[in-house]
C-alpha cells in the first residue's frame, strides 16, 4: 500500500498474511537536497526554481549527468521542463514480452495488472522501490531499466529530467489522458505534462477510531490539537515523514507556508512537536493504516489514502464505520504520477500501460485495492464508494476538486532550507 507524500514520503507494504507477520518498510524521501551552505544563488525565476548544474558543479557537486537546469515548479511559478530527447513516433505497435514496472509496494492492484497482461498479451514484472532516492540512484547508474515508473512525485521529477532519465510522452498513445482532472492536465511541476501523467491524489488529515473518539473532538475548535492531547498517549501516531509532520505543526501554529525557510518559524514548529512528543509519546511511522484497524492505535495523523484503505484491514466482523477521518480546514494536498524512463525498451507498451491505468473503470478497480483516489475526473463519490466499498465514516478522506485546489502544496526545498527542516526533525525524533 502506498503512502508517500510530497517530499519525503514513506510507503509501506502491509503485513503479509492473515496474522500480519511480514512487514516491508519503505521509506520514500524525496526532496532532500543536502548542503546547507549550498545553492544560495539558486534563482527563483519566472518559470520556477531553477538550479544550474554548472553552478552546482563549481560548488563541488557531481551533477553532471544532464546539461539542462534543475527546474522545480511551484504553484506560483509553474515550470516547463526542458525537453530531453524526442517522444516516440506515432503509429507504432506495442512491443511484446515483459513490461518492467517500477512501483511502490502494493501500489497497483494485481487484478489490474493481470487485466493489462490479458488485454495486451504481455507480462508485467513489478520491481519495488522503497524511496525515491534509491530509485534515482538505480536509474542513474543503469542497474535497472524499467519501462514505467509509478508513484514518483514532483520532488524527484526535476532531477529525473536533469539527469535525462525520462522520455517525453507521446499523448497520441494515451487518449485516456483526457480523463485526468483538468487542473492536473497542465500541472505546475510539468507544464504541458510532457513527461508525466497523474496517478493518484491525496491530502493529509487525522484518522481515528470512532469507538474511542467522538468526531466533535475535531470539529469543535482546535481539531489538530487532538494530536497534542495526552489522553491518547501511547495510542497515537504521526507520519514518519518530516515534511508532512512538521507541516502539521506549522499549520496548527497558523502557518500556511509549508515550504518555509524561516528559521524562527521552523524552530517554533520544532518546539511544538517536542511538546507533542512529551504529551503523547507518539509512534513515528507509516503503519497506522494497519495498526489503527487492528485496534493498536486510536488516532493518527496520516495520508487520506491510508484512511480509505483502512476498512480493508479491519478484523473480520468489525463494523467498518469504526474508522473515521477528519479533513482539517487547512491541509496539504498533492498527487503523484506515472512516467517512462528514457531507457525503456518497450516505450509503446509503456504508453499503453499508462493509458490503461488512466481509464476510469480500470482506475476504480485499481483504487479498490490501493485505496488512493485516481487523479481522474468524472468519478463521483458514489462511483468510488461502489468500487471500493468504503464506509460513510471515511468519506471525509476523499479529495474533492475544491479541496485539491485549495490545499497547500509542498515542493522541493532549497538545500539550506531543507537542512533546517532536517534539524527540526532530528530534534523531535531524537527524543
Amino acid at each position: 500500500m502506498e503512502r508517500h507524500r510530497a517530499g519525503h514520503p514513506r510507503k509501506q507494504a502491509p503485513f503479509l498474511g492473515g496474522d500480519q507477520f511480514v512487514e516491508a518498510r519503505h521509506a520514500r524521501y524525496g526532496s532532500t537536497v543536502r548542503r546547507r551552505d549550498f545553492l544560495r544563488r539558486a534563482a527563483v525565476t519566472g518559470t520556477g526554481l531553477a538550479i544550474a548544474p554548472s553552478v552546482l558543479a563549481a560548488c563541488g557537486g557531481d551533477s553532471g549527468d544532464g546539461d539542462g537546469s534543475l527546474s522545480i515548479g511551484t504553484p506560483d511559478a509553474p515550470v516547463t521542463l526542458p525537453t530531453v530527447g524526442e517522444a516516440i513516433a506515432d503509429g507504432l505497435s506495442p512491443e511484446s514480452g515483459t513490461l518492467e514496472l517500477l512501483n511502490w509496494a502494493d501500489y497497483a492492484n494485481p487484478e489490474s495488472l493481470a487485466a493489462f497482461e490479458a488485454a495486451l498479451g504481455v507480462k508485467v514484472n513489478v520491481t519495488i522501490y522503497d524511496n525515491e532516492e534509491a530509485a534515482l540512484l538505480k536509474l542513474r547508474n543503469g542497474t535497472f531499466a524499467p519501462d514505467v515508473i509509478m508513484g514518483m512525485t514532483d520532488t524527484a521529477l526535476a532531477r529525473l529530467v536533469a539527469a535525462e532519465l525520462l522520455q517525453p510522452l507521446n499523448k497520441g498513445y494515451i487518449p485516456n489522458f483526457s480523463n485526468v482532472i483538468v487542473g492536473l492536465q497542465n500541472p505546475y511541476y510539468d507544464l504541458g505534462a510532457q513527461y508525466t501523467v497523474p496517478y493518484v491524489i491525496y491530502g493529509n488529515g487525522i484518522v481515528y477510531r470512532t469507538d474511542v473518539i467522538d468526531r466533535s473532538r475535531f470539529t469543535d475548535g482546535d481539531g489538530l490539537g487532538a494530536m497534542w492531547d495526552a489522553t491518547y498517549a501511547g495510542r497515537l501516531a504521526v507520519l514518519d515523514s518530516y515534511r508532512d509532520t512538521i507541516s502539521m505543526a506549522l499549520i496548527r501554529d497558523g502557518i500556511t507556508d509549508v515550504n518555509t525557510g524561516d528559521e524562527a518559524v521552523l524552530r517554533a514548529a520544532g518546539d511544538s512537536l517536542r511538546a507533542l512528543r512529551e504529551a503523547t509519546n507518539p509512534k513515528v511511522d507509516i503503519l497506522s493504516y494497519q495498526e489503527l484497524p487492528a485496534g493498536n492505535r486510536d488516532i493518527a495523523f496520516t495520508w487520506a489514502g491510508d484512511a480509505l484503505s483502512m476498512p480493508g484491514y479491519l478484523p473480520e466482523g468489525v463494523d467498518p464505520n469504526v474508522i473515521g477521518f477528519w479533513w482539517p480546514p487547512t491541509t496539504v494536498t498533492a498527487n503523484d504520477f506515472m512516467c517512462i524512463p528514457r531507457t525503456s525498451s518497450k516505450p509503446v507498451l509503456a504508453h499503453a500501460f499508462i493509458n490503461f491505468f488512466s481509464d476510469r473503470d480500470e482506475a476504480l478497480r485499481n483504487a479498490s485495492f490501493v485505496g488512493y483516489q485516481p487523479a481522474l475526473q468524472g468519478i463521483s463519490i458514489d462511483d468510488y464508494r461502489a468500487a471500493t466499498g468504503i464506509p460513510e465514516s471515511v468519506l471525509d478522506a476523499l479529495v474533492t476538486p475544491e479541496r485539491y485546489e485549495s490545499g497547500l502544496r509542498m515542493y522541493s526545498l532549497e538545500p539550506a532550507v531543507d537542512a533546517l527542516w532536517n534539524d527540526v526533525w532530528a530534534g523531535f525524533t531524537a527524543g
Partner: protein, 295 residues
C-alpha cells in the same frame, strides 16, 4: 625461556588475514570517512565522497559533535549506551547460567539443548521481532491472553522496557554460545582442586570458575555489544517512539532519509571509534592474560 619470535615465512601466513582486514575493514572505513568529510550532490542529493583527505571538510562532523555534547543527539547517545549496558547485563545474567549448565550438567542432552537454543535464531531477526510485536501489541494474541489473567498493559506503548528486552531476546544466543565454548574448555580440575582445598561451591565458582572464564565472558560481551550499538530495527519494530531512539536510528535517518548523509557517516565513524576502543582494551586484556599464563 623466552618465546620464539615468529618471522620469515611464518609471518607470510598472516598475509591473507591482513589482506582481508584491509579489504573488508580499512577500505570501507576509509570510504565512510570520505563520505563523512565529503560533499553532497546538490541536485541528486546523495553523498559525494571526497577521496582526497586534503579536501576533507569537517563542518558536519563539528555539527554532530556539538549535537552529541550539547544538542539532541546527547540524549540519544546516552540512551544507547544505557540500553546496551542494561541489555548486556541482562543477557549475561540469562546466558551464563545456561552456558554453565550446558557445559557442566547437560550430559547427553547437551547437543539437543544447544540445538534448541540455536534453532529459533535461524529465523530472521526482523521476523522474530515482528512476531513479538504481533503477540504483544494490544490486539495481539499474547496480550489478549494476558488480559484474561488480569494483566492489562500496553506492552508496545513505546517504552524503553520493550526495546531493552527486545535487544536481550535478539542477542542472547550470541552470548550463550561463546560462554559455552569458554566454560566447556575450562580445566575443571582446578575447580575440583579448589573444592578439595576447602572452598565451598560458591567460593570455588567466584574464585576459580569466574576468573578462568573472564576472557571468554569479555569476548561474549563484546560480541553482542558491537551489533547492539548499531541496532535500529529493534526500536523500529518494537517501539517506534522518539523516546526510545538509538544511535542506529539516527544513522538510519541521516543516511537514508535526510539531506545530511554526512552526519550519518560521522556517527558511523564515532561509533566505530568507540567500539575500537572497547575492542582494543579487550584485546590488550586477553594478551595480558596470555602473557601471565606463559610465565
Amino acid at each position: 625461556m623466552r618465546p620464539r619470535r615468529a618471522g620469515g615465512p611464518w609471518t607470510a601466513l598472516a598475509t591473507p588475514g591482513v589482506a582481508w582486514l584491509v579489504a573488508m575493514f580499512l577500505v570501507p572505513l576509509y570510504a565512510v570517512a570520505c563520505i563523512a568529510f565529503g560533499r553532497i550532490d546538490p541536485i541528486f542529493r546523495d553523498a559525494v565522497p571526497q577521496w582526497n583527505p586534503l579536501g576533507w571538510r569537517f563542518e558536519e562532523a563539528g555539527a554532530v559533535l556539538a549535537s552529541i555534547t550539547t544538542g539532541p543527539l546527547r540524549a540519544v547517545a546516552l540512551r544507547t549506551v544505557a540500553y546496551v549496558v542494561v541489555a548486556m547485563i541482562l543477557s549475561l545474567a540469562l546466558g551464563f547460567p545456561i552456558a554453565y549448565y550446558l557445559a557442566r550438567h547437560a550430559g547427553r542432552w547437551r547437543l539437543a539443548l544447544l540445538a534448541l537454543i540455536v534453532v529459533p535464531y535461524w529465523v530472521n531477526y526482523l521476523m522474530r521481532m515482528m512476531a513479538w510485536y504481533n503477540l504483544l501489541s494490544p490486539s495481539g494474541l499474547g496480550a489478549r491472553l494476558l488480559r484474561l489473567v488480569g494483566l492489562e498493559h500496553n506492552w508496545m506503548d513505546g517504552s524503553s522496557v520493550a526495546v531493552v528486552l527486545g535487544l536481550v531476546y535478539g542477542y542472547v544466543p550470541f552470548i550463550i554460545l561463546p560462554l559455552y565454548a569458554t566454560l566447556e574448555r575450562l580445566d575443571w580440575r582446578l575447580v575440583e582442586a579448589a573444592r578439595d582445598l576447602g572452598a565451598g561451591p560458591r567460593a570455588a565458582f567466584r574464585l576459580v570458575t569466574l576468573p578462568l572464564a573472564r576472557a571468554g565472558t569479555a569476548a561474549a560481551c563484546v560480541l553482542i555489544a558491537l551489533p547492539m550499538f548499531g541496532d535500529y530495527y529493534t526500536n523500529d519494530l518494537l517501539s517506534r517512539s522518539p523516546r526510545t531512539e538509538m544511535l542506529g536510528n539516527q544513522i538510519d535517518f541521516y543516511l537514508n532519509a535526510s539531506s545530511q548523509p554526512q552526519r550519518g557517516a560521522v556517527l558511523v565513524l564515532l561509533l566505530s571509534l568507540l567500539l575500537l576502543v572497547g575492542l582494543s582494551s579487550y584485546l590488550r586484556s586477553t594478551e595480558r592474560t596470555a602473557r601471565e599464563r606463559r610465565r
